[in-house]
Assembly symmetry: none
Homo-oligomer: 227 residues x 4
Amino acid sequence: MTGADLTMNERSFIVLPMPQIPPEPSLDRRAQILEAAIVCFAKRGFHQTSMHDISAEAGISVGLIYRYFANKEAVISAMADRHTKEIKDLLERARQAPSLLESLEILFTAHCCENSPKVQSAFVVDLYAEASRNVAIADLVRDVLQTSMDGVTDLIARSPEAKEAATHGLTPEELSELIFAVARGMLMRDVLQPQEMTAADRRTRQLEVTRRLWRLLFKTESEPAYA
Amino acid sequence: MTGADLTMNERSFIVLPMPQIPPEPSLDRRAQILEAAIVCFAKRGFHQTSMHDISAEAGISVGLIYRYFANKEAVISAMADRHTKEIKDLLERARQAPSLLESLEILFTAHCCENSPKVQSAFVVDLYAEASRNVAIADLVRDVLQTSMDGVTDLIARSPEAKEAATHGLTPEELSELIFAVARGMLMRDVLQPQEMTAADRRTRQLEVTRRLWRLLFKTESEPAYA
Amino acid sequence: MTGADLTMNERSFIVLPMPQIPPEPSLDRRAQILEAAIVCFAKRGFHQTSMHDISAEAGISVGLIYRYFANKEAVISAMADRHTKEIKDLLERARQAPSLLESLEILFTAHCCENSPKVQSAFVVDLYAEASRNVAIADLVRDVLQTSMDGVTDLIARSPEAKEAATHGLTPEELSELIFAVARGMLMRDVLQPQEMTAADRRTRQLEVTRRLWRLLFKTESEPAYA
Amino acid sequence: MTGADLTMNERSFIVLPMPQIPPEPSLDRRAQILEAAIVCFAKRGFHQTSMHDISAEAGISVGLIYRYFANKEAVISAMADRHTKEIKDLLERARQAPSLLESLEILFTAHCCENSPKVQSAFVVDLYAEASRNVAIADLVRDVLQTSMDGVTDLIARSPEAKEAATHGLTPEELSELIFAVARGMLMRDVLQPQEMTAADRRTRQLEVTRRLWRLLFKTESEPAYA
DNA sequence: AATGAATGAGGCTTCATTCAT
DNA sequence: CATGAATGAAGCCTCATTCAT
C-alpha cells in the first residue's frame, strides 16, 4: 500500500460522481429539493431547518416543495431513503475495491469529499438522533446498517488477507461490527471538527485511523508493522 | 472476570451517585430543572422540547425556569455542562477500577443503567448533532472528549496488561482514540435499539463488545483466547 | 291526488331536463364546470371548495377554469345565476301544474330528486349565508325570491281553490309569503337530515308538510279533512 | 293584544339582558372570545373568519385564543353550544309569556334586538350550512331544534286559545313543526335584508308574520279577523 | 419566590391565480 | 385550447419569552 493507492482512491471519488451531473438544471425537481434539503439539514439540523430555508436554498418557492412532498416529514423521509441508497452505493464501491484495506478506506472516507460528500457527517448524526424518536427512521437506519455490515462481513470472509491473518478469534461478523462501530464513532467525532477543516485534512485523519484499525485486525504480528 | 465483577460494576453505579442526593426536595432548583430537561431532551430532542415540556416534567411553572436560566439556549448549555461533569465523574470511576478491562467496562456501559443512566445515548447523539452547529457546544464536547481520552491514554500507559501485551505498534494515545471511537459508535448504535430493550440487555451487548475490543487490543496472541 | 300524480311529478323532473342535454361532451365548458362546482359546493361549501376540487371533479385542469371564469368569485356568481334560472324553471313548471296543491308540491320537493336535484339544499343554505355578506348575491337571491313569490301570488289569485276557500283574511301576497317562508324553513331543516336519507324519504316528508300547509291555507273548515 | 303588549314585549328584551353586563372587562375570557367570534362569524362566516379577525375583534393576541380553545374548530363548536343555550333560554322566556301569541312573538323576534340579538340570523344560517357537512354540529342543531319544538308543542297543547280554536285537524306537534319552519324561513329571509335595515324594522316585519301565522293557526273562522 | 396569562414572531401548509409550453 | 408547474400571500398554530400579580 503506497501513496499511489491513495491517489487512486481519491480519484475514484472525485472523478466518478461529478462528470455526468451538469450543475442541476434538468435534474428532477425532487432531486433538486433533496439536494437543497441536505445542505440545510447538514447546516442546521432537521428541525431547525424551515421549509423556507429549503426553498431558498433550492431557489424555488415554498409552495413548490409541496407539489413534490406531502410535508416536511416526507422530505426528511425521502432524505433518509436517499441516504440509504448512497450508503448502499458506497458499499458496492467498497466491495469492488481490490483489497480489504482499500474497501475500508472507501467506507471511512466517504464523508471527506470536497464537492459532494456521499455522507454528510452532521446529517448522519442528526439522522441517528431522529431515529431515536422516529420508529420509521430507526427501522430504515437499522436496515441499511445491517445490510452494510453483512456486506463487510462477507468481504472479510472472502478476503485472503483476513484469512491469513490471525483474526484474534473474532468471527468476520464480529470484526465487521467492530469496524462499523469505529466508522460511526469517527463520523461522530468529525462533527466536532471546526468547519474550516478541509475535506483533505479530514480524509488524512480518517485514513490514519482506517489503516491503524486494519493493521490491528488483519495484520499478523510476525509481519513488519505497516508504515 | 466473573459474575462477581459484574455485580461490583453495577453497584458502583447504583450505590455511588444516589446516596448524597435526597430525592430532590431541597435540591437546588437548577438541578431539578436540569433533571426534568434531560428527560425531555432524551425523549424528544433539544429543539422539539418546549419550555413548557420542561416545566411540566419538573412540576413547576414556565416562568420559574427563566429565574434560573436566561433562555432555552442556556438550559441546553447547562445540560451540556452537566454532561461534562458526569463524563468526568465517569472517567474518575473508570480510573479507580482495578483493571484496564474493568475501566473499559465502566466506560462502555455508563448508559445502561435502569434508573438513572448517567449517559442517555439519545441525548449524547443530540449533543453531537448540536455541536455540529453550535461552536460553544462543540468546544465543550471536544474538551471533555480530549480530557477523557487523555485519562484513558494515561490509564493505558500505566497498565501492566497493556505493557505486557503487544500493542501492535500503536501508542497509548492511538489506542485510546480507537477505544473512544468504538465507544461513540456503540452509543450511536444504541439509539437504534427498540425502546423496549432493557438496560440489562443493552449492558450485555456492550460488555461483549468491550471484552472483544480489550482482547483485540491488549491480549497477546500467545495467550489463550479469553472466555 | 294519488300515487299516479306523484309519479307524474317525479317524471316531470327526470324526463324534462335530461333529454336535450346529451351527457355533457359537446356541452359548453362553462356548464361542465358549473356542474362540477355545484357538486363541490354542496359537499363542502363555497369557501372550503378549492379551485382544484372543482377542476378534479370536472376532470379538467385548474388553469382551464380561468379561461371561462375570471376567478372563484365569478364561479360562485355564475352558480348563483344558474340557481336563479333553475328556480325560475321550477316556478314555470309549478305554474303549469293542474292544481294549486300540485304546484306547491313541485315547489316543495325540488330538492328531493335522486339524480339531479334542481335545488341542493346545502347549496341553497350556503347561498343565503353568502348573501348575508355579498351584496351582489343578496340582490340576486332577493330578486329570484321576489319573482317566485310574485308567481305564486299570481297563482293563488287565479286559483279557484283559493278563491273558494276562506283565506283567513290573508291576501294572496301574504299567503305566498307564508308559503315561501315554510319552503325555505323546510329546506333549512333538510340539511340536518343524515346524508344517508334517501331522496324518496325526503320527498315523503316534504309532501306531508306541503299538504298540511295547503289544507291549512286553502281548505274551508266545512270541507272534510284531507286524507 | 294591543300596542301596549308590544311595548311590554320589547322592553322585556332590552331591559332584561343588558343591565348586569358591564362592558366586558371582568367577563370570563372564553366569553369575551366567543363574543368577538360571533361578531366575526355573523359578519364574514365561519370559514372566512380568521383567527386574527377574532383576536382583533376581542382586542387580544392570536395566541391567547389558543389558551382557551384548542383550535378554530373548537371555537365554532363552543359557539354552537352557546347558541344552543341561548335558544333554550329563549324558549324558556317564550314559555313564560302570558299568551301563546306572545310566546310566538318572542320566538320570532329574537334576532331583532339592537344591542345584543340573541340570535344572529347570518350566524344561524351559517350554522345550518356547517351542519350540512359537520355531523357534530348537525347533531347539536337537530337536538336544540327538537327540544324547542317539543317545548312549543307542549305550549300549544296547554294553550286555551289553541284548544278553542279549530286547529284544522293538525296535532300540536304538526302545528309546532309548521311554526318552526316559518320561523327558520323568516330567519333565512332576514339575511337578505340590507344591512342598513334597523332592528325595529325587522321586528315590525317579523311581528306581522307572526300574527298572521297565529291568526291562521289558532283563530277560528267565526271570530272577527284580527286588525 | 412563583405563577401562568399574554404576546407576537415564525413555522407549516393551502390555495387562488398566473404563465410558459 | 389545454395543461399543470410555479408563485406567494395568508391562514392556522406553536412557542420562547415577558410581566403583572
